[in-house]
Symmetry: C2
């Protein structure tokens, strides 16, 4: 047993997947959960999410060996301030936020002496959200990045690593600034771009929504999956990973303009070379086991 | 039997899927195929693709009741010129190109009197290409847009519609200009955007390719699937649907700049409203049966 008592603060997609993942492999003793919304707490009780769903955050974290902050990045600091007086000496606080520098700056100052703070970020998730959307297999084969501070307690880091590995993840460590840049490339910029393209399609007067919807199977629908992600979570990501996201979007725009110019001037060689190069990255992702090679991701319609 | 003899010109992803789809429902008599590359012809023979694989395009189209041009949009005109002298009176020529105005302008002038030209575009495909990548179910539940010219022969259009419906498609008709605009939104602009984002990630000096690959499961990998599509096909699409694609990309850039400014100025309400609106489009696509609601498209890793 890695931890006797775990507290999940916030009971959405990641927290619920962690609960089922910890139970699947029998990694911990008891899991207490807390959500701010009474409706979410009731749903959690109805589906057996958590061994105990607490009505107060204080009850949830008192005596916990591990407290996992699973709330939007923008409220991590407030939540840390609320739980700080109730944390047990020797406990570990971690989080699952998609941004690490801002979370460390917001949470770190509230962590009492004698409590370990080990930020982390599981690179997993689907377009679904809420307490009913979690499942034990979410983290299987996916990476979890742990971002320990200088001088972090090695034993505390090792236990958290063991927990994530027990839930099926592969684990790496990384510093916060590099994490935020890598995620700006692999996640934050792509999400903003997908949201933008879907917004443009919705806005056009000359193409109806029903045309966009019916004829989406040709590229656009993959954007809509990404752009169906939780709005609050993503608002906070962009506001707290501002610099890295804007840097990548700047590079993206520059490159997009170059390709637009190639289209305008009829430079087919430039386009063909560019489109050939991008195939190699896809092959790398398949080989690394980070996606399926089945056509269309093996969607039901179109399965071979 | 809808057609006695069908000729497939070009034996890639769409042609091979058509062959298996026509055979599944026993829609046609014989299917002859031709590909310019001897290697592709050999592969087709090896896997039983087409009842006869012809060594010349002339042999393939002679006596065909339906000739389907399944070649990149940029060479449709040349191919039409080659086959024109060998077409049977009363035959129908169609195509599967992703752009319609340019194909009509390139192919139309070569079509002899007494032969019907009925352009079409099945909105289906995966990131895979080549003769071995086709499968009968590709068109199931997907739309095929037929773009008949003014005064097109109604019986010829009806037969082609019946063929596509027999392969599992839903069929609509549309004029060429509107088709090209709709596809610029649902397919062409999203593809260019995905290619661009993958190219940017590949180019960055501060984030390694292996980081991009390993940590792609957070949005980026969906872009890589789109950006793994056939480079020649896509080069031709952009060069031949230039105006509509550039128009949509212009709108996209405008909107992206507005969102970047919201990030820079910390306008969380603007971001949250925008991200909430885009969810509705996703729901429409699920309800229209154009995608699965399974998380992550029901990818194997992460299946509930």
């Amino acid at each position: 047993m890695i931890y006797e008592r775990v507290a999940l603060i916030g009971l959405g997609h990641i927290a619920s997947s962690m609960f089922w993942g910890m139970k699947r492999a029998d990694l911990v003793g008891e899991v207490y959960g807390f959500a701010r919304s009474a409706e979410t707490r009731q749903t959690a009780r109805d589906i057996g999410l958590c061994d105990r769903v607490c009505n107060t955050i204080e009850e949830a974290v008192t005596d916990a060996d591990l407290v996992v902050l699973c709330v939007p990045v923008g409220v991590m600091g407030d939540v840390a301030e609320q739980i700080a007086p109730h944390l047990k000496a020797g406990a570990t606080v971690t989080d699952v936020g998609s941004v690490k520098r801002a979370v460390i700056d917001a949470v770190g100052p509230h962590i009492p002496k004698g409590v370990h703070f080990v930020p982390a970020h599981p690179l997993a998730g689907t377009e679904h959200s809420g307490p009913t959307s979690g499942f034990a297999e979410l983290f299987d084969g996916r990476w979890c990045l742990i971002v320990p501070s200088d001088g972090a307690d090695e034993a505390a880091v090792a236990k958290l690593r063991a927990l994530w590995e027990g839930m099926g993840s592969k684990v790496n460590t990384m510093d916060a600034e590099h994490h935020d840049l890598v995620l700006a490339v692999t996640s934050h910029a792509p999400h903003l771009i997908a949201y933008t393209m879907v917004g443009v399609a919705d806005d056009l007067q000359r193409v109806s929504d029903s045309e966009v919807i019916n004829y989406s199977a040709t590229g656009f629908r993959d954007f809509t999956r990404i752009a169906a992600s939780d709005p609050t979570m993503w608002r906070d990501v962009f506001l707290t990973n501002k610099e890295a996201t804007l840097e990548i979007l700047g590079r993206f725009t520059e490159e997009l303009f170059a390709l637009q110019r190639a289209i305008r001037t009829g430079d087919g060689d430039h386009l063909h070379d560019y489109f050939t190069r991008t195939r190699a990255i896809r092959r790398g992702i398949i080989e690394a086991g980070q996606d399926t090679d089945a056509p269309n991701f093996g969607r039901t319609a179109g399965r071979k």
